[in-house]
C-alpha cells in the first residue's frame, strides 16, 4: 500500500503535520496551553518540559521531538529565566527546515501579550503548513514502536504475540521497529544476547538487562511475585517472555537510548533505564514517558497493548491500542482499535489479529485517526534522566 506523507529536509517522511506549542518550563505551561487551545480540532498540539534546571536527556529528547517527521512547525514558549537551552533548540529546528518562533513571556510583557503574539504566529503558520508537498510513503518509510501498559494475564498470550508477528512483518518490509523494557527481559539475557547481529551487540544487550535488574532492585522492585503463578506463569523466563514476545523474533540490529535515531531498517531494543546510580526515581514514571521516548527515536506510530484497559494516546504520533482481554474490549470498545481478545474467545487466530494490526498501521499512517486520536488524547510527559552516550558496539555499521 502507498499513501501520501510529508517530506522533511532530512529525508524522513511524516504521517502527520503538527504545529507544536512547546513550554520550556512549567511557568510557561499555562500560556502555551491557552495558545494551543485556540485551535481546537486543528493540527496544533501542546508538549513541554516542566523542569527549571538543565537536563541533557530532556534537551536531547525535546530536540528530537521538535524535528520529528510528524512535526511541521514549532512555537517555543519560554518564561525567560529557566535554564533550558532555547536558542540552541530554536536554531536546530530552523536548520531542520521547519518554521520556528520563540516567545519569551518576560520580554513580551506577560500572559496576554504572549498569547496574542503566539496565536497570531500559529494562525499564519497553519497556512504555511498546507503548502508542504506530499510524498509517496510505504511501510518501509515507517518507524513503529511498541509498549505495553495495564497488562494482565491475557497480554502475554494474545496481544503481545500478535504484535510480535506484526514486528516480524515490519522488519521484512524494511521498516524500523523498536521495542523496550529491558526490565521485562530479566531471565532472558542468554536468549536476547544471541539475537544481536554481532557478538559485541549481544554482549551490550545482555548488559542492558543486567543494568535494568540492578536498577529495579535498587528501587525496591522484585521480578516474580507469587500472584504471577496464580495467573499461570511458572518461571521468571516465562513472565518476561510474555512482554518480550512483542518484539517478534527477527535479529536485533541495535540497542538505542531515547533520542537515538536508527539509520538502518531493522529491529531495535530501546534501553530506557538511566545510566549510573538511581538519581531521579523510577526509569519511567508512567506509560506515556515510555511512549515519548519511542517517539523521540523516530516512531511514527505506537502499538500499545493492554489487558486491563488503558485509554492513553500521545502527542505527535498516533497510538494504536490493542486490547488483549475480551471482557475489557467489550467494556471499553471506544478506546480500543483492535480486539486481540478474540484469540482467547477462539474467534480469531494470532495470525489473523496480526494481519489486522498491520493493515491498521497502514490505514492510520495514511491519515485515519486511531481511537485515542479521535478521542483527543494527546498525553505528554518528559522528566529528568541521566544517560551516557550510546557506544559504537550498540549500533553496528551505523
Amino acid at each position: 500500500m502507498t499513501w501520501k506523507g510529508y517530506l522533511r529536509q532530512d529525508g524522513r517522511k511524516g504521517i502527520r503535520n503538527y504545529i507544536l506549542v512547546v513550554y520550556l518550563v512549567e511557568c510557561a505551561h499555562h500560556v502555551a496551553r491557552l495558545i494551543a487551545q485556540k485551535f481546537p480540532g486543528e493540527q496544533v498540539q501542546l508538549i513541554g518540559f516542566s523542569g527549571c534546571y538543565p537536563n541533557e536527556h530532556a534537551d536531547r529528547v525535546m530536540n528530537a521531538l521538535c524535528t520529528h517527521p510528524n512535526t511541521g512547525a514549532v512555537l517555543l514558549i519560554s518564561l525567560g529565566c529557566e535554564s533550558f537551552k532555547r536558542n540552541v533548540l530554536h536554531e536546530n529546528i530552523l536548520t531542520s527546515g521547519r518554521p520556528c518562533h520563540t516567545l519569551v513571556i518576560q520580554q513580551q510583557g506577560g500572559t496576554k501579550k504572549t498569547i496574542d503574539a503566539g496565536s497570531e504566529w500559529v494562525s499564519k503558520t497553519l497556512l504555511q503548513l498546507e503548502k508542504i508537498p506530499g510524498t509517496d510513503m510505504t511501510v518501509a518509510d515507517l518507524t513503529v514502536g511498541t509498549v505495553c501498559g495495564g497488562s494482565d494475564a491475557t497480554s502475554g498470550i494474545t496481544a503481545n504475540p500478535a504484535v510480535g508477528k506484526v514486528f516480524n512483518r515490519l522488519v521484512e518490509n524494511k521498516a524500523i521497529a523498536i521495542f523496550e523494557e529491558t526490565g521485562e527481559m530479566i531471565g532472558l539475557e542468554e536468549i536476547i544476547s544471541k539475537r544481536g547481529v554481532t557478538p559485541e551487540l549481544g554482549m551490550e544487550l545482555k548488559k542492558s538487562v543486567q543494568k535494568a535488574d540492578w536498577y529495579y532492585t535498587q528501587m525496591g522492585h522484585g521480578s516474580f511475585a507469587p500472584g504471577n503463578a496464580d495467573g499461570g506463569l511458572t518461571t521468571i523466563e516465562e513472565k518476561s517472555m510474555g512482554a518480550y514476545c512483542k518484539g517478534g523474533d527477527a535479529p536485533i540490529s541495535g540497542l538505542i537510548k531515547p533520542g537515538d535515531i536508527p539509520q538502518k531498517p531493522g529491529l531495535y531494543v530501546m534501553d530506557v533505564v538511566p545510566d549510573g546510580a538511581p538519581k531521579y526515581g523510577f526509569p519511567n514514571i508512567n506509560d506515556n514517558a515510555e511512549i515519548v521516548e519511542m517517539i523521540a527515536s523516530g516512531s511514527h506510530i505506537i502499538l500499545f497493548t493492554t489487558g486491563r484497559g488503558s485509554v492513553v494516546g500521545s502527542a505527535i504520533s498516533p497510538v494504536i491500542k490493542i486490547c488483549a482481554n475480551p471482557q475489557t474490549y467489550q467494556h471499553m470498545q471506544d478506546d480500543m482499535d483492535i480486539n486481540a481478545g478474540r484469540i482467547l474467545s477462539g474467534l480469531a487466530t494470532i495470525d489473523e489479529v496480526s494481519k489486522e494490526i498491520f493493515e491498521l498501521i497502514e490505514k492510520v499512517a495514511s491519515g485515519t485517526p486511531s481511537c485515542s486520536e479521535a478521542l483527543g488524547h494527546q498525553e505528554f510527559v518528559l522528566t529528568y534522566k541521566t544517560f551516557t552516550p550510546t557506544g559504537p558496539s550498540c549500533l553496528p555499521g551505523q
Binding site: 498470550i157 543494568k211 499461570g232 518461571t235 523466563e237
Partner: protein
Amino acid sequence: MKKYIQLHPSDNVLIVIDTIKEGEYIEIDETEIYIKQSVPVGHKIAACTIKPEESIIKYGVPIGLATQPINKGDYVHIHNVKSAYIPTYTLQTTFIETPKTLKK
C-alpha cells in the same frame, strides 16, 4: 471451540483458553487425552511427552526445565517445572560494573 492455542510452532506446551476440567477428554494431534487435573485459562498443558531436565518451550524459547516426567496433556506448572535462570541471582552475584566505575 478449541480449548487451547499454540503460541509458536516449536512449543511443547499449549495455552488453555477455555477451562479444562478433570475427567474431560481433549484432542491433541488427533489423539484423545484424558485430563487428570483441571487447568484454568492462561495455564499450560503438555503438547507431547517431556522428559525430566528437558526444556519447556513457549513462545519458541525455553522458559524452564521439567523436574519430572510429563505426559502429553498433563498440567505444566510450578509442580513439575523449575526455572533454568540462576535461582540464586541476587545483588551479591551481579556481574555488571557498579555505577562508580561506569564510564562517564
